[in-house]
Symmetry: C2
Subunit: 416 residues, 2 copies
């Protein structure tokens, strides 16, 4: 089955807002076995909306999904346009009105006409109450296609899409389940790996497919199983990954994830190791990435953003003359930060960053784009130097964050 | 002038990759006075590309900008398709080949056919050497329109677009400059503000336009000046903002930015105040946001991610019985974290967060979605409670981060 997504919003065309809804919806549809064939972002005026809807209804897509453009202040024009396009008329939907009224009362506000108009919907559309906001979601059958109108607010749209729309699509169209899992393999060229896995691959059940996705020094093997019995799919994938691990041994470095943070979390938890972080140039971003993953408290003890030399001295206890002799952006200070950080947090492993994110040089005249990452592992220290002279501040912070995670990964996991 | 953007890539349609290029390009075009009328994301197969290009050439757009889809492994099909669409043929572009060869040599690799093919371009297209990668950028005139083909890698595309494409568009089409600046006003209803500003607004020069953009309790006033003399535009905007500030006094809380982090940075720097942060639930994200802004080291002393109770005890020095009595997610612990953080970092102001991001409750059985934010300002402490029972972990971290920044803003700046 196919879908197209129509993102309605002038604020996206002007670049004021980054659209994340279409990415979320595409990802969820992909996992349901529905392919997105096109995503269009258009202006929220009636003409553009009708033109695009006509195009979509003339195509071979099964689902037409819109986000935004039907909010309260735009209602008069665009919702009326939608009703006309559907050869229908707008009526007040009582359950939607009741729900909106209830939402407003609990928040102590009084209903006004603008809010009441949110309950106006085309009379033949099915209304799905929006549990995360006031704009109702519309599900309309027309010419053998399904038109789904969602609001623009990312949080409302994404939560409702995952919790209500995806299950409804699965149920109404009796779609198969798709179970996907990836493993990460290192130390193999793609062609060698394919040769090694020939027998195993030939014996995979029909309903399991395999993709090789090389990414740098690693290869992601992605197994997808499709069928109606979700439990069987999951068991089969688990069984096949177990076989893989018997063939590839320690070259298979992760059977649970392709995400470096998940791989690190997995490794630290399994080996009862603890981590702490001392950040200067990355300003808390490594800590943020690590804690984005649920369960990180098992191995992550904490971090410090030692943004100034003073804090490197007063909190991390690096002697002032040491910083002055070596300069704050140096191999020595990076190492010392990692050592002191491990001590402060009493962790087995510590990672540190120091560098110049720009736009101007630091007090020691170090150039923008220079950075060092220090790693402390059980009494040993390692350090790496990076120099990216032509990148923006944001890009520099992002790159050094990624390099720090890769440093832990390669030093402790891949080259173990 | 109008533009449309065509994003080419199956990885975007499947949701594996979030497209940020179109947002970047749209923003830069908007500032150049070029309106984006549509953004389309399509599959990287020749048929989809040709269909979409035909559509774009049949529309009233002046610029057709594509990203992605012309990378080395796809070259054979899609670049050939592009040449055929342009009734042209592919030829090796010598400067592009020289540049690619030089890039490869410095990195110690040897040229292969796949890489060499990157220098194949339609013979009538103008080639813009890509300083950030190997895929050349194409600028082609056809039927009174300009077709610009950019690579898909965000870093390359965005840097090249800003540094080479925007100046080229401005130069070739003699486009006016647009200078925009916004100020933030508080304590006014939109209608009251409009009345207060009537005289000033009526006396604005013709080439300056004004928009009211209310956002919560604040109103953003956006001034845009359009013309050929950039210096005059900037001076005029500065002069008008000075007049505004004489009318609105302390109700005009920022004349430099609409970004809460910039407003906070501005306020702390001007008042010689220092800030530190103790994060539990937000895991380093507030620190990351604060340090994303250049110059934050002037007022930001540093932060600690005290992810476990142990670290709250050992590093922040909150006594263990205190945490046990009040529970780690409590008003009292949030306050105490802020007080101890200010002491540890010797800062005037400290903000703290503690809460349960989920997916499961904490060791004290506090529910997922509960959080407290503590604020210490010169010996006084404030605390706020938040409860978002139905949000994801990421959304919870994002919300508490934003609430913490707003807490500083409202307590210290707006209600000062």
């Amino acid at each position: 089955m196919k879908a197209c997504i129509i993102v309605i919003g002038d604020e996206i065309l002007s670049g004021r807002t980054l659209d994340t809804n279409s990415n979320f919806i595409a990802k969820k549809l992909d996992l349901t076995g529905v392919s997105v064939t096109e995503i269009s972002t258009i202006s929220d005026n009636p003409d553009s909306i009708v033109t695009k809807l006509k195009e979509a209804f003339a195509s071979d897509t099964n689902f037409i999904i819109t986000t935004g453009g039907l909010g309260p202040t735009k209602d008069d024009k665009t919702k009326q346009t939608l009703a006309e396009f559907l050869s229908d008329q707008l009526v007040i939907n009582q359950p939607a009105l009741d729900y909106i009224t209830q939402l407003y009362c609990t928040n102590g506000r009084t209903m006004n006409d603008l809010t009441r108009k949110q309950a106006l919907v085309p009379s033949h559309s099915e209304v799905i109450i929006n549990r995360y906001g006031t704009a109702p979601i519309l599900w309309t059958k027309k010419s053998n296609k399904i038109l789904i109108n969602l609001p623009g607010v990312p949080y409302e749209t994404q939560a409702m899409f995952e919790e209500f729309i995806i299950p409804k699509i699965k149920k109404e169209f009796n779609l198969p389940f798709i179970v996907r899992r990836s493993v990460i393999v290192v130390d193999y060229l793609e062609s060698e790996l394919a040769t090694t896995l020939t027998d195993w691959e030939n014996n995979l059940p029909d309903f399991v497919s395999l993709s090789y996705l090389p990414s740098g020094a690693r290869i992601e093997l992605r197994l997808s199983a499709k069928g109606t019995d979700k439990k069987l799919l999951e068991e089969t994938i688990t069984k096949e990954i177990k076989k893989l691990s018997q063939i590839l041994h320690e070259k298979l470095i992760s059977t649970t994830s392709t995400n470096i943070i998940e791989i690190i979390a997995d490794f630290f938890s399994k080996n009862n190791l603890t981590l702490s972080i001392a950040e200067s140039i990355t300003g808390g971003n490594i800590s943020h990435k690590i804690t984005s993953l649920a369960g990180s408290s098992v191995y992550y003890k904490g971090g410090i953003t030692a943004y100034s030399s003073l804090i490197k001295e007063s909190v991390l206890k690096i002697p002032e003359p040491f910083i002055h002799t070596h300069k704050v952006v140096s191999e020595e200070v990076a190492k010392e930060m990692a050592i002191r950080c491990a001590k402060l947090f009493n962790s087995d492993v510590a990672i540190s960053t120091t560098g110049v994110a720009g736009p101007s040089s630091d007090e020691f005249n170090d150039p923008v784009g220079l950075a060092y990452i220090g790693l402390y592992v059980h009494g040993n220290t390692y350090v790496k130097k990076y120099y990216y002279p032509h990148v923006t501040r944001d890009e520099m912070i992002t790159r050094i964050t990624n390099k720090a995670l890769e440093f832990i990964y390669f030093e402790m996991i891949e080259n173990k």
